[in-house]
């Protein structure tokens, strides 16, 4: 294949290079420069945020786990169950998430609201909601499947290592106690409760028939 041939010039080695001594001192100088720069930053308390400015001069590491890198907004962390305004779970126990789950790690026992509850007949609720976080593969299908925005993985935390298996089985209370990375237990998507003024529409009593 014809083409231009670029002739590389062989680097000239001087006596100084050949002796290695000067080069060793130069190399140590770079190390010492970073050492004094880092020490100076630590003494003055002026360490640049290695996460925000990864290419800044000075210390380029973070002190995990005291410091943590923030995860991306859509990073899939540990699940949480979102709350309604009254603190009950938004979940209506439709079992869509457990159907979608490829690891079969979600168990839900649906129940009916008791007689007299305004949600009776309209909705059901999870009597039990258990996620086996050991089996979970964090694929996020449950979040995609949820029609009520009741399960989210926006917590920004990953699974902690526990020393016993049962600690990985997250029940309803545990899942509802987890907050999002913005500190909220709710979801930004609005929902309307039956009987509320914001709930659209008429019913048989209000409609006059």
């Amino acid at each position: 294949m014809p083409g231009k041939t670029k002739v590389m010039k062989k680097p000239v080695r001087t006596l100084a290079d050949q002796s290695y001594l000067l080069e060793v001192v130069k190399g140590l100088g770079t190390t010492l420069k970073h050492f004094f720069q880092g020490t100076g930053q630590m003494v003055s308390g002026n360490v640049p945020d290695a996460v925000k400015y990864p290419l800044a001069e000075g210390i380029a590491t973070i002190s995990y786990p005291e410091e943590k890198r923030p995860y991306a907004e859509r990073w899939r962390g540990v699940h949480r169950l979102t709350h309604r305004d009254d603190g009950s779970p938004r979940c209506v126990a439709c079992l869509c998430c457990s159907t979608a789950c490829p690891a079969q790690c979600i168990y839900i026992k649906p129940g009916e609201y008791p007689e007299g509850d305004k949600r009776r007949g309209y909705e059901r609720y999870p009597v039990e909601f258990v996620i086996d976080e050991l089996r979970c593969i964090f694929c996020g299908f449950c979040v995609e499947a949820c029609p009520c925005d009741a399960i989210r993985m926006d917590t920004g935390t990953h699974m902690t290592a526990f020393d016993e298996k049962s600690a990985f089985i997250y029940d309803k209370d545990k899942l509802m106690s987890i907050v999002s990375q913005h500190g909220t237990q709710k979801s930004e998507n609005p929902r309307h409760e039956p009987g509320e003024a914001t709930h659209p529409g008429i019913d048989r009593l209000r409609g006059g028939h």
């Binding site: 009916e112 007949g121 059901r124």
Partner: protein, 556 residues
């Protein structure tokens, strides 16, 4: 047989049949809600409209309609043929019917579908019918357009309790009146009715009544949408996680054909549903039959146990079989009685009869006592296989449990080997069994007899093994294994064969098909695999293709 043409397919029909009925028999489903093969014609859902070509020399009846013209951005006058409901239109020789081939029909279906969904809450995620709902199915096949109505839908009562078994949701209801017709025509009791008109109408119970009786669950079964839900199945499972297995109701001697819906992951039965069989149960089952799936998980014998010094000890099946064989070997010939069971399958009883024949033992039959029968489906005899147990005895005398107790008190019996723990005598009369040195029982369910057993062996129930029942009409019908046997349970025929081999009898059965093959030779009438008996008087309606069921391997 006369024929008519439906979308270029020749459909044979009997005189007096409607278009939809003849097509259904050929496995072609014309979309419908209110029509049900077992109920009268209501023609109120308008989903099954078809176009019928005018006969020779006749003009088609045309209607003036307004049609949207996108180019003019206005409605223009157009004409369309008057469509006919296929469920009500009688088929006639040479009739030409267009269903899928007619764009008028496809339009009509899409619009009917849109109309039915106008006030529907579309709460499929929490609706028990989701996955087997006709509104969902026909939305996908006939409509596939978004809702255009911007107004708020009409809201109606939800979660209305109709009785102990049925909960009603008026918003999901399409007022097809199938449930009303079930009450009227199957039960003959007008417990349900329609209230109000138009988009306000809803199903209500008759004044002062609630939905009660033996066939309430049939109203839920025929409901094509999620309006009527069974309070037993409500919120329990999603239908797409269930597998349907063809089975036979173990509730009574009628032997209704049914599907048992099980969750293969949890190994749990969730519900029964009638399986259409024109010769036996048509399309129906009674409430008690529908609830027999609960028995599967209740009062089960799951481990083998032996009685030592008055106390019951759990042990392995092998140890219990050894103990039973050792106990029975000492019994002199002719002093052993064998108890068949009207609750066990024909195959179990067949191997038991073989066992008895080789030992020269007299046969008796354990059974449950009678229950409330009716003229519709329920037989007074609540044993599903009395006829089968008697048939495999091949003309040998089969005494009742009372006869056995009589023989015991007369001192003619030293040991009893039996299937089942059910009794049709009073429990006090069992006291004479304490005179018998060895009572070996093989049973799936705990019962009054179990307390008298010296060796109790766990058998698979009729949900856990393939087998057959012969119903009161003498029709042998097969049920398939739906669940894995629980605990240490093993099919009863296998336990009997193993017991026989432990007693050095010639019982070679190790596989279910060997039992079935021997049954087919010795008692062909009890073999469910022979050609089914067809009554020429009743039309055989073949239901549309159902999803395939998993193959059922019986042998452990």
């Amino acid at each position: 047989m006369p024929t008519f043409k439906l979308d270029d397919i020749e459909i044979p029909f009997e005189k007096g049949e409607t278009i939809i009925q003849a097509a259904y028999r050929q496995g072609i489903e014309i979309p419908h809600y209110c029509w049900h093969p077992g109920l009268s014609i209501a023609a109120n859902c308008r989903m099954c409209l078809v176009e019928i070509e005018p006969g020779p020399g006749q003009r088609a009846m045309m209607l003036d309609v307004l049609k949207w013209d996108a180019a003019k951005n206005d409605y223009v006058v157009d004409r369309k043929p008057k469509l006919q409901p296929a469920c009500q239109q009688m088929a006639a020789e040479g009739m030409v019917v267009r269903s899928e081939n007619s764009h008028f029909v496809r339009d009509a279906r899409a619009h009917v579908q849109e109309f039915l969904l106008l006030n529907h809450p579309v709460d499929c995620p929490i609706c028990d019918q989701a996955g087997e709902c006709k509104l969902q199915d026909y939305y996908m096949t006939e409509q596939r357009t978004p809702k255009r109505m911007l107004d708020e839908p009409v809201h109606k009562p939800k979660g209305v309790v109709f009785g102990d078994t049925i909960v009603y949701d008026a918003e999901r209801c399409i007022a097809c009146t199938r449930c009303i017709r079930v009450c009227d025509e199957l039960v003959g009791d007008h417990m349900l009715d329609l209230r109000e008109r138009g988009n306000k109408n809803e199903i209500v119970t008759a004044p002062g009544r609630k939905l009660e009786g033996d066939y309430t669950l049939m109203t839920e079964h025929v409901c094509p949408v999620g309006a009527l839900t069974s309070s037993h199945f409500r919120f329990k499972a999603r239908v797409w996680t269930l597998t349907q297995v063809p089975s036979i109701c173990p509730g009574c001697a009628t032997g209704c054909n049914m599907f048992v819906d099980v969750d293969p992951r949890e190994q749990r039965a969730y519900r029964n549903r009638p399986r259409d069989n024109e010769a036996v149960n048509k399309y129906w089952m009674c409430d008690d039959g529908m609830m027999t799936y609960l028995r599967e998980h209740e009062h089960r014998v799951l481990t083998a146990s032996v009685r030592r010094d008055g106390t019951r000890e759990e042990t392995t099946v092998e140890a219990a079989l050894e103990r039973a064989a050792a106990g029975l070997k000492g019994v002199q010939k002719g002093w052993l009685a064998v108890l068949l069971s009207a609750q066990a399958s024909t195959e179990d009883n067949f191997v038991m009869v073989e066992f008895a024949r080789q030992l020269g033992a007299p046969l008796y039959l354990s059974a449950k006592g009678p229950w409330r029968g009716d003229e519709i489906l329920r037989n007074v005899d609540q044993n599903p296989n009395r006829a089968g147990a008697v048939a495999v005895a091949n003309n040998a005398k089969v005494g009742s449990l009372k006869d056995l107790l009589h023989a015991v008190s007369a001192g003619q019996v030293q040991a009893v080997v039996g299937l089942g723990t059910d009794i049709d005598a009073d429990a006090e009369s069992l006291a004479v069994l304490s005179r018998v040195s060895e009572v070996v029982l093989i049973a799936a369910h705990d019962g009054p007899l179990a307390s008298r057993a010296s060796v109790l062996l766990p058998a698979a129930s009729s949900f856990e093994a393939t087998g057959s029942f012969m119903n009161v009409k003498g029709i042998a019908q097969e049920f398939r294994k739906a669940l894995n046997p629980k605990g240490d349970a093993v099919p009863a025929w296998d336990l009997v064969a193993r017991l026989g081999r432990a007693m050095e009898l010639d019982l070679k059965y190790r596989k279910f098909k060997e039992v079935r093959a021997a049954l087919a030779v010795l008692t062909p009438a009890a073999n469910p695999e022979r050609a089914p008996v067809v009554d020429p008087q009743t039309p055989q309606i073949t239901p549309p293709a159902t999803p395939t069921t998993p193959s059922t391997e019986t042998n452990p």
